[in-house]
Symmetry: C3
Subunit: 260 residues, 3 copies
């Protein structure tokens, strides 16, 4: 994929750096309906960024938790009936509170009932859908290209954050390529899930969802590159990724952002 | 908060050191009804201390598991209907076996149904309630002070282990301040949950619940200080915390305990 | 336990090394019905070995997930009604697809309903049962010895992978002792669970289940020894175990395999 003429990327480093500082200062509460594999790592990523994560699913409580939050993640993961019900309730509450939410359709390429459920969720207007190439292909019935991803974002009036060797972020008009990142990020479970949680956190402090999505992927990508520089494998990489996110500052973000 | 005249702290270092050695020697089985975010870290903390953790929730099995254990943790965490039922059964079995149990009312400040459920649990006589300032405030309808915490402990005939910059442990009469600890402990998910599990472990080998609670908080606090000394952030801190707990010996406990 | 005359072990190092390379090359999808304590670590072990893990349990989806996989792990862990149903469905689908599956009867020694359920599962012909001494004793009504383990494997026409100071792998005829491993492996939660997942992965690329089981235990044992050499405790050991599995190569396997 090549760059698109509409892209305006010059201010991404400073926007992202400023957003990082807003996260540290405001410490938004982020409620995550996510899978049990990813919960612990996702919570630690959010804590490292200064956010306050919560993960409760029960139908009696999820309303209070979301009402007290500033961002919402919906990640399918181990999609069981309880999560399915929690997701339906959560999205309604987010809509009632005009709260931004992110959809992460994990493994939508692996099961037909899941694909049907995800299509229903997309119709309920997530601010952002973050997914990988296989998931996009299953969802859009097309392999990802600039045209198909832009068309999908336009049609569903959402932001697509497509992870890959280069990440692609588009609202259907604007397109950004995020070159930050490292292959070890695909060798640790829940890194993708945590990146969606980070998008939800960025939405809590930045109203332009396209910029918020790009910023989240830039931040995680920079942290991934930095952690990989000293890691001996995916075990130490995952540990270092949390450390680097915790220590990341605006100056480093400005220096290391690579977008086009 | 200042120290209270009733406090007797001179023997805490040696009591805690002795309790650490009892844990290593007796290896108590601790059953944990806890949230899915905290399960893995909690199990590893208990294993590092020489204990044998189990986490099963199913109504058919939880009786056998608790009957074969020496301590019980009830942590609300992601409070779903299955956990709610498991908790009710578990407390009854603990009462039948005269087994000590610890209540960790995670996020009681975040949802009204949870607060109602926690009040019901407190009435069922937990040996210890371990919680943070926001949780105490929601539960007691007062901000924590020496007076309000002591009054709450007295009224409910339990031990309160209140985590904060300085931890406070009281049975309503005796009060202890535990100064051990490090701010990074609040930047890793499940450290609070694991500290409650450690209280349950200490109750298994020490019949004075006030001393057992203080000892658990001292041990975790010392480990937190030691781990923080070399950590690059919350990722490496969490890893090192487990290592330090595993290696902690009586001499170090005696040297590093800071209580008043 | 001493070696048995039937054992043929000379080719184990090269078979295991070759199997490691097959895993890296084929990247099999392994579906894991496992407990929430072990999910994250198990996923990271499989990813480090080049495999693609999935963990979904829901009755609507588990069929699609298993049909798209090449190996299946059934681990009881926190055995709740949802997992119980998922297990029953999963085994039927595996049978329909002639897909190998591994049974890990965690904590079968701790509850009577669990023991009854495990006996039913054993009757449904798992390719391998991996368990520890306490679990074998509860399941077979005998302490493990060469004779009792061989007899159990023969009677149930399965492979037994018995973990202990020395691991024992038998199909009732052939017996192998795996001396690789380290005591720290018992101080980290989910290492046993992850070893069963690794057996499922090896079954996906090696049709001789006895060899596949031995290879999985050799690989994890070598990684454990290597990780323990530099670990400061179970926290850093668990991190390093993932790194070492990721970097493990055929030459190291050939050099370090210790079987008899």
């Amino acid at each position: 994929m090549r760059n698109s003429p509409q892209t305006t990327c010059a201010d991404v480093p400073s926007v992202t750096a400023s957003l990082l500082e807003k996260l540290r200062a405001r410490r938004p509460r982020i409620h995550c309906v996510t899978n049990t594999v990813a919960q612990n790592f996702t919570a630690n990523v959010l804590l490292a960024m200064g956010c306050v994560p919560s993960m409760t699913l029960s139908r009696e409580e999820i309303g209070d938790f979301i009402a007290g939050s500033e961002g919402l993640l919906i990640n399918l993961g181990t999609l069981d009936p309880e999560r399915r019900e929690a997701i339906t309730i959560a999205i309604q509450i987010a809509a009632d509170h005009k709260m931004p939410w992110v959809l992460d359709p994990v493994f939508v390429d692996r099961s037909a009932p899941r694909a049907a459920f995800v299509r229903e969720l997309v119709s309920r207007a997530p601010n952002v859908v973050r997914l990988n190439h296989a998931e996009f292909t299953a969802l859009a019935d097309h392999a990802p290209s600039y045209d198909t991803v832009k068309a999908y974002a336009s049609k569903h009036r959402t932001i697509i954050g497509l992870s890959g060797e280069t990440d692609l972020v588009t609202d259907g008009e604007r397109v950004m390529n995020v070159a930050n990142g490292h292959p070890l990020m695909t060798k640790v479970t829940a890194v993708g899930c945590a990146s969606s949680a980070l998008v939800a956190a960025c939405l809590a402090v930045e109203s332009d969802a396209w910029r918020a999505t790009a910023a989240a992927l830039v931040i995680l990508g920079i942290a991934g590159e930095t952690a990989a520089a000293t890691a001996a494998g995916p075990g130490s990489f995952a540990v270092s990724l949390i450390d680097v996110l915790y220590q990341l500052d605006a100056a480093t973000v400005i220096k290391q952002t690579r977008v086009s």
